[in-house]
Subunit: 408 residues, 2 copies
Amino acid sequence: MKIIDGGITSPIGFKATGSHIGIKRVKKDLSLVTTDKPAICSGCFTQNIVRASHILWDEAIVKSGKRVKGLITVSGNANACTGEQGDKDNEKMAEVFAKEIGADKNEILTGATGIIGLKMPMDIIEKGIKDTVKNLSYDRESGKKSAMGIITTDKFIKEMAVQIDVGGKTITIGGMAKGSGMIHPNMATVLSYITTDLNITKELLQKALDYSIGETYNMISVDGATSTNDMALVLANGMADNKIIDSENEDFQKFKNALYKIHLKFAKDIIHDGEGSSKFMEVAVVNAKSKEDARVLAKSIVNNNLVKTALYGEDANWGRVVASMGGSGAYFNPRNLNIFFESQKGCIIMMQNGKPISFDENYASEILSEGDIKIVAELSDGEYTAKAWGCDLSYEYVRINGDYRSRS
Amino acid sequence: MKIIDGGITSPIGFKATGSHIGIKRVKKDLSLVTTDKPAICSGCFTQNIVRASHILWDEAIVKSGKRVKGLITVSGNANACTGEQGDKDNEKMAEVFAKEIGADKNEILTGATGIIGLKMPMDIIEKGIKDTVKNLSYDRESGKKSAMGIITTDKFIKEMAVQIDVGGKTITIGGMAKGSGMIHPNMATVLSYITTDLNITKELLQKALDYSIGETYNMISVDGATSTNDMALVLANGMADNKIIDSENEDFQKFKNALYKIHLKFAKDIIHDGEGSSKFMEVAVVNAKSKEDARVLAKSIVNNNLVKTALYGEDANWGRVVASMGGSGAYFNPRNLNIFFESQKGCIIMMQNGKPISFDENYASEILSEGDIKIVAELSDGEYTAKAWGCDLSYEYVRINGDYRSRS
């Protein structure tokens, strides 16, 4: 797998662009993507039962198996909790974009992120689409503009592109994502878009995505909240002309791994970019009885407020790690538990075989003074492992999420 | 039901005392309770699979159905994550106290709260018990001393006593509890002790306790964490000489309700006393499809960091309330959802039939400026209701739980 400088427009046949149309004050708030050849599409959608209109729309398209020609995203307005009107506005947005690029509205995927409960400014959006569509282009810069169009309070855009060889053909996979801001009154929405010129069956495309999401986005947490707007999409237009991947052969594994690498980078970028986070935490639970136990335990640690505040305070507070695991509902034998804290500065063991180990406080502080901290919970219950990623809980988090008036 | 000034020593035949024996620097750290006539005992214990030694010990006694003669609690040391040594120390503590009051060690319930992973200072504890038992007394002041002996960073002691009439006899129910501090490296431990001179079967005593805990302690959250040491006990010595309650008759309902009232007061006291909390939140979910749905929805709101920070920021952020409900996994129909915010200053509706309502920001701010806030989520899915109680997420919470060095 070769990492290249690129994004959503890197694979063959994908155009994109982004612009400021006036939903936000100044920043870009519209993102458009098209594919020259209709693409198959797979998706993962938020499990929150309160779902933005675009979630319902896109899920129906993905389920239908129809090929798609375009993807339109607005940022600044989440079009969530907006009832039937929101559904109508979402459909209208697809319709207007479809007309501009000579497609059917059902061939257009939609996305939105921003403030919940606000009616969509359809006049601005309609005009914005018409003004922006002419800038659609294959070049790198247009990909960047498109990535800027989907972010909200993200401090940086999230892009990546890689190439793999499939039966002598060079396959390109590119993507962009946004996460970050828990802004009034929304929560950290993840929008993740990936394009590829790979030729693959829809079933296997979905399978690769499901695997990837389960190991990446589903294992990160800024505040344990699920957004009403979360979505991850992959579009494959087959323009690389490789022999179609229709079985879980070596080529499929290559692609699955490349997709995972991109999603993992985006997931970590989202945590690093999390509003008000000052430290990054990776939690590894090893030797668990089952994959599910490992996952639940790892997530219970990154989600625990007491662990998160301890991380912020650079406090080697293994007691909270143990207690959060114990309260997670997952199985493990506490009497065989080892807990390690690690960073670039070194590694220190806090608990061994379920018993506290006396350790050098100064050395622990030195390890925890780093920005990237790893917590390892080593069990002896089985052979399953899971990793989760999160951040600390800081004054800044409270300020950003509590101090609404200063932001509106 | 009559509320009287009292606590753990109010019912007939219960003596108590508390003292400072040197586990903590200055505050009381030992609490003793005895009953003249051996008492039946019911208990609820933490579901955390990492469990302090006293949890294992007391659960075995409660399961055995044996009558008990005493209860000893130390504060300052949680005796958790201390392995077999912790079990031995806990047993020794029971043994020493038993010897002093002429009981068998298996007739002594134990409790501990404080720092995890520290070996118990058994020399101090043994001497402390011997010095303290002679002060055991029936009077009100001794009850207060006993309540002081179980608290850690609680700002105030939690006591209550009530009287009910059962078949012409006056029954007294008294109790004490502690909660509060998420201090290094422990989490908010709840210890709840109730004594009564009621004559009742063990099965019904447990049934009344289970009901009560499910509606009170299980519905409060300071940080969503379960302690390794949480426990609620009820001791009934039957010395009021009422005809034994052996069926779920009117007298049982009276007792069950009285027990609930005491536990509810303690639960709310614990939230009000929660370290770093500046606002109290009551969440009511009404007209849910099932009791379990109502419970899960109510708890998802009080546990949500974005709701908690919004409360701290006095931000009428209904979007976060809705999203946290949607992510809870419980069933409700979002299109029939109404959301109200209430306080002494008034009530305001934010969302009606799943659609946002434009509201007066100033009025909302005025309502949220109060210390006690109520959030009502009105569904139309059924007839079940649940309440949960929590607090905001403040700078102070982060400071207390993050800034370890300044506290050790």
